[in-house]
Symmetry: C2
Subunit: 120 residues, 2 copies
């Protein structure tokens, strides 16, 4: 099974999703992420989906679950890099990302995380 | 064909390799990267290979080519996140990464790029 690598930039963990996520790899990612947030004390998680062509309710639920897990460690989650076609499909199908914040790209996502942290 | 996404963090471009690279995807990555360096004016490129299980001479040549392309745009290249097993195999087989600089992880790689830039 392929594992999604988790990179650390300052106090933020970056997850760039490039593989087709199956049940097993999603579970592994959630475990790895919980482990990594707890060991690094990261205050934010950025999930980059610029390589993802299809976002369905399964992926949406994964974002929501990751955000809930992060929240338990007092970390915020931002989804970045959504393709225009993906955004259109989400709206057309009436799908939501479980209340997870989104941003245009990695840099804006990191800025939002900084801001949330300062305001807290 | 899957494309490897290129993320921007400040003046650095981040490429996280998670797919098995074939000739076509390597060519596409090199083109995308040249395009992105030229449009963003990035001063550094970090290639994360923490998800890569096998580094052979084909991948090594790709690193060298990417570094040469980056150099033409006055940008430096660092390869980060190599797995211990990959490092051992490289040494045992006498393979080199074409003179490309390596660092333990993303943060150290970014530090090296900052340093190189300051010293220049």
């Amino acid at each position: 099974m392929e594992r999604v690598p988790i990179l650390k930039i300052g106090g933020v963990l970056l997850v760039s999703i490039q593989i087709d996520l199956q049940d097993q790899s999603v579970l592994a990612l959630q475990e790895d992420l919980a482990e990594k947030i707890s060991t690094t004390g990261a205050h934010g998680v950025v999930i980059d989906i610029s390589a993802v062509e299809i976002v369905d309710s399964f992926i949406g639920r994964m974002f929501a679950t990751i955000a809930s897990i992060s929240r338990l460690f007092d970390a915020d989650t931002v989804v970045v890099g959504m393709r225009p076609a993906v955004a259109i499909t989400l709206v057309e199908l009436g799908l939501t990302l479980g209340g997870v914040r989104t941003a245009l790209n990695l840099e804006r996502g990191m800025k939002i995380l900084e801001q949330v942290r300062r305001d807290a």
